[in-house]
Structure formats: structure tokens, C-alpha cells
Symmetry: C2
Subunit: 336 residues, 2 copies
DNA sequence: CTGAAAGCGCTAACAA
DNA sequence: TTGTTAGCGCTTTCAG
């Protein structure tokens, strides 16, 4: 059995309160007493019981991070940063995977973990704005990545329209005119896809290039496989594109694979741009030009917003933060 | 303020115990009472308080998974499976990153989270067998990946020697004779590297190929960068190798990049084998031959062993389980 | 500066 | 089948 405050108190010959004071770094404790208590703590290998503390103060020091899937590199990298940022604030992170399924996401926003956690960082895929407004749970929540409107909760999300536009403008500046887009999704989910598509169209319009719907390829998921498949479809076109903007790096990497296996040159025949800047994109052949959101900033911002929520301004208006991003130009557009 | 058992009891006009019985699915409750209680629960949006339950029963339903870093794809994929397996057993998973630093690992084995978790799954990099024997904490722990000997705790680990030998034997069977190894590590950590090296040497011996130390390249970390660098070194040799066995896929992918950027053909000039079977290896150009441990089995086994530990046989002898693995041959050795 | 005692929400003996 | 009660380990008034 683990030792409790009481045990330490008895061992040190002081009261429970005194031990508690020492443990919690309360200042008004005489040096002698403090030393005595600390020695007792060491002797008994005492460790404060989180459960009791949690029960008493209503704070667990644990937050949840809910994301589609850890095996997607973008989310894995982001999760790594979130855990790191949380650690700096003495918070522990519990991971939930939603698979982007709406019912899983709903369940989680409804506070499943039952008072286990102090707050939630959610990266939703399928949740609608309505779902969020229905929400009864008072658990502080930060949304990563956007729905169309904002309103129901704090959000941290890059400006997808602007970022996508910048990526496509880069292709235009390279002289490309027949620019495809891989990653469209029109189902209720896929807000991200819709915004990146909007950025794509905006860039074309600015460049005076006509919008050609046959160059916009929808996908099931944002995985390599879907990217490879979509690229295949584009190559089968009577007039294949000379550039592709992929809505994430995984799609881009899949597209790359299809292009190379057809003996085409990248960027010679087709230039490719991705989105996310996962580590792999620095090492692919060719390396992948991509929009790089500052993941560390996203993680830190999310944690800080969350902490603010459960330390006081529970009722402040929802905030929305746009983390910085930059276009990183690599071989898949510039050549090597 | 969230509602408690007491609130529900009052609302339903029954005692606390009855509500508790309903909540916990106790059978001997009359249908009428049950209905009444359930309605009250719904009306008050009651959710059992995890902290109180935890305090009372000494079980939190939360386990920790401690691994070097989430951004390494192998660990991300593994973590995904662990979270999934835990979910099936109604356990939540809290993630800790160690960066492979010994003091972080030690800290974690010493039960930092303070009674917060029911058990620990640790993938150590730097911890020594001695460290583990010193361990005072009684928290159930499962080790992922091995140290040299076994003894201090349950382990789930592929047979690295046999797997490495099989990988190298595959290269030999392809007619390669000058086979390099990337990933050696001689510091106290790096048990995995040592075992894979042993398998490599065993395969050479069996094939009657002399061991050439200049073909064994040490690395700092198991990252793409280190693999690329190591491969560079090998190409600078008077007699470069005609095959490379990389101790993980990331090293292999890095090596691939160096080879291709030098205009060499894989596997024409140099064949490459990795270890881990991360998703990326199915999509690289060329795709990567690799040893594929069954990650799902590893995760499930770890969870099950852990559950056994904290449900009864706390004191059974340490078990060691070897999950299955298989060599997946792809373009980097067979060509495509 | 230190002690005594109440109570967070729940479960598990025990009683009825 | 249902109710009563003690107590898990801690923090937090309130006294001293």
C-alpha cells in the first residue's frame, strides 16, 4: 500500500496540514519542520495521490487530445508537439482517436471521459457547426482546424484559403497553366477541403486561368493511396495537367509515386505542391514543395487557450487564432 | 456544477446505493426502480465522477504509454494500435515522450504520474537492466523492445536476431556479397541495434561471407538524416557495398534518398532492406523491402499482459512474448 | 506557524 | 431488493 499524508504526518510527528503545506510549497513553514517533513516523505517514498487531489479540487491535470488517427504523420507530429507543450505546463495528455467518424466526435464533445479531464483539444473532421451548438457539456474545448463559420468554441486554424492561394500562385509563377487539384470533398465534413479549393479557385481567377472542373479530383480520404489513384485519373485525361496542388502532403506523395512510376519527370512534366509539411516531404524523391503550418505554434496556442478557459474566463467569447504558415519550395516544383 | 449520485437519488426518490447499482449494472434491481433512476440520470445529465471512483477503488482506468517520440512513424503507428486496443478494453491512454533520454525514462518508471495511472507501457531506449532492478515503484509495467537480458518486467519484443538474420539472408540469396549495415550503436543504450547487428553477423557467417567492420556504420539516431549520411559514407568507400541492411525503415529511406540523388539504381547497384514496415515504405520510390513486426499484435499483447498484471497476478514471474513478424520483399531488393 | 475537522463523490460492508 | 454508513486521501476553512 502506498503511503498517505497521514502516514507522513505520523512519521514526522506533525499534523496532516503541515505535511500538506510542505508538499504544496506553502511558504510559512519553519525550516526545521520542513526538513523533518521532507525527510519523512523521502523515507516513506510518499507521492501525493492524484485521485484525491482531483476529487477535492475538481482538477485532474489531464487534458484529452482527440484526433482522427495517430498513424497519419501530420497528426502524429502535431500530437508530439501538444504533448510537449502540455508537459511544459505540467499537464498530461490523453489521446483519443476518432477515425473522423461523426458519432465518435460527438461522443467525445459530450464529455465521455466523465470528469476525468480538465479540457479537450479536438481536431474534428465530420462534426458540423450544429453539432457544436447542441453541445451540453461545459468542458472547455479547443478546436483544431476549421468548420466554415466560427462561433461555438475557441479555434486554432491556419488561413486555408490564403495558404492554398499562395501555393497555387507559386505554380502559376512557374509558368504552369493547367493546374489540377487533388483532395476535393463535398460531404458535410471536409470543411478544410472546401476552403483549400476556394483558395485554389481564387488563385486561378487572379491569374486569369479558366476553372476546369475536370481537373478537380475528389478523394475519400487524405491518404497516399487516394493521391496515387487521383493522379492516375489525371494522367488518363486527354490533356493531363502540368501541375497539381494536393490538399495535403500524403496526397502529394501518392501523386508523386504515380508520376514517377509512369516515367514522368517531376517537376519537368508535372509540378507538385502539398500541404502540411510532414517530415517525409523533406526526404521524398523529389522533395515536396508544401505549405508548412507552424505545428509547434498551433500546439502551444491550443494549450494556452485551454488553460485560460479552465482558469477563470470560462465565459469569454470564443477566440479564433490563425497560426503562421509559410510556403516551402522544394524540388517538386523547383527541380533539383 | 455537475450532478452527483446524491442528486440523482433525491430526484428519483431512492437511495444513493440504488442509483449506484443501476449505474454499475448490478442485476438485482426491479425494473420499475431501474427505469425511474435511468430517467433521473438522463434528466440531470448525470455522469459518474471518475476521480471519486478512482479514489475509492484505487483504479483509474487510465494507463500510460511512454515512447521516445510520436513523430517517429513507427511509434506513431504503434501508439495508434495501443490506443485502439486499450479502447476495446475501456482503458484510456496517456502519452509520455521520453526522447530516449535515460533520466526521463527513469523518472517515468518511478511512477511520476503519482497514482494517476493503473499501469505503464514503456518503450525504453536508454534504460539499463540495472535501472530496472533498482526500481521501487510497484506500478505494473510492460516493456516494448528489449534490453539484452530479461528479468525485471514483462516484455513484448520481436526476435531481433532472427529477424535481422532473415533480412540479410534475403540479400545473400539475391547474390549480394558486399552487404553493409547501417544503424550500429555501442553506447549503453542501443540494445536493439546490438541484436540486429548480431543477426547481421550471423547471416554473413552462415553464408560464408567475411565480416568487414568498415561496412558497419554507426548512427546517432534512427532517423532519415542519419541514414542518408551513413549511406554517403559508404559510397565514399573504395569498394562501396552492393546491399545495405538498415536497422529501421527511416534509416533505409534516408539511404535510398542518397543513392538516388547520386544517380545510382536501387536495387540495380545497391539493394536496401529496412526494419519496421512503416506505412511510408509501401509508397517510397522504390518501395522498401522490410521486416514487418505485427504492430497490432504487439499492442494487443501489451495491453492484455498489463491488464493481467493489475487484475490479480501481480506477482507472477515476468513473461516475455515474441510477436510475429515477416519479411516483406518489395522493389528495393526485387526491383520493379 | 500549526492543528482539528469537514467533505469532495463514490463503493462496499452491513443492515433491514 | 433497497437503505445506511464509513472512509478512500486530499485540501480548506477555522481555531489556536
Amino acid at each position: 500500500m502506498a503511503s498517505s499524508l497521514k502516514d507522513v504526518a505520523r512519521y514526522a510527528g506533525v499534523s496532516i496540514k503541515t505535511v500538506s503545506n510542505v508538499v504544496n510549497g506553502y511558504v510559512h513553514v519553519s525550516a526545521v519542520t520542513r526538513a523533518k517533513v521532507q525527510q519523512a516523505i523521502a523515507a516513506l517514498n510518499y507521492r501525493p495521490n492524484t485521485a484525491a487531489r482531483h476529487l477535492r479540487q475538481g482538477r485532474s491535470g489531464v487534458i484529452a487530445l482527440a484526433l482522427p488517427e495517430l498513424r497519419a504523420p501530420y497528426f502524429a507530429e502535431l500530437a508530439g508537439f501538444v504533448v510537449e507543450a502540455a508537459d511544459e505546463r505540467s499537464l498530461k495528455v490523453l489521446i483519443e482517436q476518432t477515425d473522423g467518424a461523426r458519432d465518435r466526435e460527438l461522443e467525445i464533445t459530450e464529455g465521455v471521459p466523465g470528469h476525468l479531464i480538465d479540457g479537450l483539444i479536438l481536431s474534428p473532421l465530420a462534426l458540423t457547426e450544429d453539432d457544436l451548438e447542441q453541445r451540453t457539456d461545459r468542458l472547455p474545448m479547443i478546436l483544431l482546424g476549421e468548420q466554415i463559420t466560427d462561433g461555438a468554441a475557441d479555434r486554432v486554424v491556419v488561413d486555408n484559403v490564403a495558404a492554398a492561394e499562395e501555393a497555387v500562385a507559386h505554380l502559376v509563377s512557374l509558368g504552369r497553366r493547367r493546374i489540377a487539384a487533388i483532395g476535393a470533398q463535398d460531404a458535410a465534413p471536409g470543411a478544410t477541403a472546401r476552403l483549400r479549393l476556394r483558395g485554389y479557385r481564387q488563385a486561378l481567377r487572379r491569374a486569369g486561368i479558366a476553372y476546369d472542373p475536370s481537373l478537380v479530383i475528389p478523394v475519400e480520404q487524405f491518404h497516399r493511396h487516394d493521391g496515387a489513384l487521383a493522379m492516375q485519373g489525371l494522367l488518363d485525361l486527354a490533356q493531363p495537367p502540368d501541375a497539381v496542388f494536393c490538399f495535403n502532403d500524403l496526397l502529394g506523395l501518392g501523386a508523386l509515386r504515380t508520376l514517377l512510376s509512369h516515367g514522368l519527370s517531376v517537376p519537368g512534366d508535372v509540378a507538385v505542391v502539398g500541404f502540411d509539411d510532414i517530415e517525409e516531404s523533406q526526404y521524398s524523391t523529389p522533395t515536396l514543395t508544401t505549405v508548412a503550418p507552424d505545428k509547434e505554434e498551433i500546439a502551444r496556442t491550443a494549450i494556452d487557450l485551454l488553460i485560460k478557459r479552465f482558469s477563470g474566463d470560462h465565459d469569454a467569447l470564443p477566440r479564433s487564432v490563425n497560426p503562421t504558415y509559410r510556403l516551402i519550395c522544394r524540388e517538386s516544383t523547383l527541380g533539383g
